[in-house]
């Protein structure tokens, strides 16, 4: 088993590590510094920033086997393997990415990038601002999916990757993949968009707004500059996460997991007739919220939910999604899950319809899975089987490219 690390000026260095079958093993975060100002959708710029990345597999000589994995709201660049600084910390898409897995690191060079504004190593609101030496806090600019794509493209430049074999992601990650295909079409051969949407609905925005209000109205928020007060709006962030979490699960999933089971009923199964934890589902949500509030930055939560709200590539084409997608030249794979009500199959079908209208290459699968939006993170034989088949096709295109000079001397 080998794990590869990327240095800033070399493509890949092979470093053998002991590992487990199907795992990329122990992985180290790499930090890339950028000093060229990054123009943002808001009109602002970030002059200098750092991005945390992980890579798995080896970039081939033609730099044609690179896969970019874009992360969703609360994930990071730690896509697969065990984090070197915490071996219990397994990558969020480890069931998909690894040697012999659907995104096979024996074949592909896979990159995970922590997005700008996030809180897992890349420059974000909690980072110290170069100009002041103090945390950015409320001064950190609002970012968009397009800004992230621009920043990710600079990582690709640094690694010498002109064109990705595939850019992929689920949920918000899928939006980034879609944005890549639209804004940098020549750099994306395949675009894999899972459980995503071309824009948030009013209901989606509403949930985000509830989450943001929970954070902003927490007395510990201090207008976003809570770092200076040595505190964090933990309660607000916890409630925000609870709201978000509800939207990730299906009604059936929740019914099956918790039903109306009482947490610690009074004698004879009676209610407590109070406002403490009465039902299992409450206990679960509180636990999830509190856990989240211990490791996630509240300003990042605001920033990312806003980026979700703003994403709408068809805004530039008067709502015409087909027109917005027209520049894309990638081969698309879209996948949705039947019980996902956050980004329902209808959202994916809308993208499929637009791609079909443009006569663009698209494959669409609607997986009948019970786990709601979260299904994109879970192991499902049909879902992973499909991705496996698709990436085998991509792998075949790499061989074609490589073997061409031999066939035609």
């Amino acid at each position: 088993m080998t794990t590869q690390f990327v240095s800033q000026d070399a493509h890949a260095l092979k470093t053998p590590t002991e590992g487990e079958a199907g795992s990329v093993g122990v992985v180290h975060t790499q930090f890339l510094q950028f000093h060229e100002p990054l123009p943002l959708s808001s009109g602002q710029t970030i002059n200098a920033y750092e991005l945390a990345i992980e890579t798995y597999g080896t970039l081939n000589a033609e730099a044609s086997n690179a896969i970019l994995v874009c992360h969703a709201l609360n994930a990071s660049h730690h896509v697969a393997g065990r984090a070197a600084d915490n071996l219990e910390d397994i990558g969020w898409w480890d069931n998909l990415v690894g040697p012999g897995k659907p995104v096979d690191t024996n074949v592909f060079f896979v990159i995970g990038i922590n997005n700008l504004g996030s809180c897992f190593g890349s420059t974000g609101p909690a980072s110290l601002r170069l100009e002041t030496g103090k945390p950015w806090g409320a001064a950190f600019p609002v970012l968009t999916v397009e800004d992230w794509v621009r920043a990710q493209a600079r990582v690709a430049d640094k690694l010498g990757i002109e064109r990705f074999a595939a850019v992929m992601g689920g949920s918000l990650g899928g939006m980034q993949a879609l944005s890549w295909a639209i804004t940098l079409p020549e750099r994306v051969a395949h675009c894999v968009v899972v459980a995503s949407t071309p824009r948030l609905s009013a209901q989606n925005i509403a949930f985000n707004e509830v989450a943001r209000r929970a954070i902003i109205t927490d007395p510990e928020f201090h207008g976003g500059d809570y770092y200076a007060h040595n505190t964090v709006p933990r309660h607000g962030l916890s409630v925000a996460r609870m709201v978000g979490h509800i939207t990730y699960l299906s009604d059936d999933d929740m019914a099956e997991k918790f039903g109306r089971t009482q947490r610690e009923p009074a004698a004879g199964g009676a209610f407590h007739y109070g406002y403490g934890v009465e039902f299992e589902v409450e206990s679960y949500l509180r636990y999830q919220g509190e856990k989240f509030s211990r490791y996630f930055d509240a300003n990042t939560y605001l920033l990312i939910t806003r980026a979700l709200d703003y994403f709408d590539p068809a805004r530039a084409t008067n709502g015409d999604l087909a027109k917005a997608l027209a520049p894309a030249t990638a081969d698309f794979l879209l996948i949705s899950f039947t019980t996902d009500w956050r980004f329902a199959p209808a959202c994916s079908r809308e993208m499929v319809q637009a791609l079909l209208k443009n006569e663009q290459a698209v494959t669409y699968a609607e997986i009948d899975a019970p786990h709601g939006h979260d299904a994109f993170l879970l192991d499902d034989a049909r879902y992973h089987g499909l991705l496996c088949a698709y990436f085998l096709r991509i792998a075949a295109t790499l061989t074609e490219v490589i073997s061409k000079p031999e066939v035609q001397p």
Binding site: L333, R349, V352, Q353, L356, K357, E359, A361, V362, T363, Y364, A365, E366, I367, D368, R382, G385, L386, A389, Y390, L392, R393
Partner: protein, 243 residues
């Protein structure tokens, strides 16, 4: 209709493929001699004919595309830009494995995903008889494509009548299901289909009829087990060139 005779060198290899696919060895011999142009040899009889009807470098929609056999063949032999619609998870997976673009969808939900006249040809092979809303799907086909092709089992095949005379619903090779356990809810004869086409204002451009993969022309209404039709809603539409 004349069949191209195949190169003998290919025939044995082709025969080997067919031996796996065909139950009857005699049928196999017929197939090799009658329809094995090198490209279509490994296709089911009606699919081979459908493939012949499709023009090179056109856009084809295959409804109920199964494992993508027809589209993979059309892509390889005619540079056709194809897309399939399929409901089954396993068959969608097969399509992806073959490199065939596929949309997972229930055909009963209609073709709203597709624009008017988005395709040159739309194919519905051996699926019409199991659809609930027959007229709707046929109309939808002529909406999304310039030309439509359907194939279906012929209920008018003479042993079916014999079976009914003997008091039993027919169970034959093309329709191997018992009456109480069949996906076939809208069976018809050639004449029935032609009447419906007329009612819907379609012009039938071509018809091909088969018995056990072999084409039959004489008394086709009785002797064929399977029929394929190529039709259009408006015969005056000039063919769209995409080369």
């Amino acid at each position: 209709m004349s069949h191209e005779t195949s190169a003998t060198s290919r025939a044995s290899a082709v025969g080997q493929t067919l031996a796996i696919r065909q139950a009857s060895p005699t049928g196999q011999a017929r197939l090799v001699s009658e329809m094995s142009t090198p490209q279509v040899a490994d296709l089911r009889g009606d699919l081979a004919r459908i493939a012949q009807w499709v023009q090179p470098q056109t856009r084809v929609l295959d409804l109920g595309c199964g494992d993508g056999t027809l589209l993979a063949h059309l892509k390889r032999s005619k540079s056709v830009q194809g897309i399939g619609v399929e409901i089954s998870d396993a068959r969608v997976l097969s399509c992806v494995q073959r490199g065939v673009h596929v949309i997972q969808q229930n055909l009963e939900d209609g073709l709203a995903m597709f624009d008017d006249q988005q395709f040159d040809t739309v194919v519905l092979s051996q699926t019409l008889q199991s659809m609930h809303n027959t007229e709707h799907i046929l109309r939808e086909m002529t909406r999304v494509a310039r030309e439509a092709i359907v194939s279906f089992p012929n209920f008018g095949y003479w042993p079916h009548g014999w079976s009914i005379l003997l008091g039993r619903m027919p169970v034959t090779g093309q329709m191997p299901y018992d009456w109480h356990d069949t996906p076939n809810i809208h069976l018809c004869t050639l004449k029935d289909f032609e009447r419906l086409s007329h009612k819907l204002g379609f012009s039938i451009l071509e018809r091909a009829t088969f018995n056990d993969q072999r084409e039959v022309k004489f008394l086709a209404g009785w002797r064929s087990t399977l029929a394929a039709y190529r039709f259009t809603a408006d015969r005056s539409t000039p063919p769209r060139s995409r080369a």
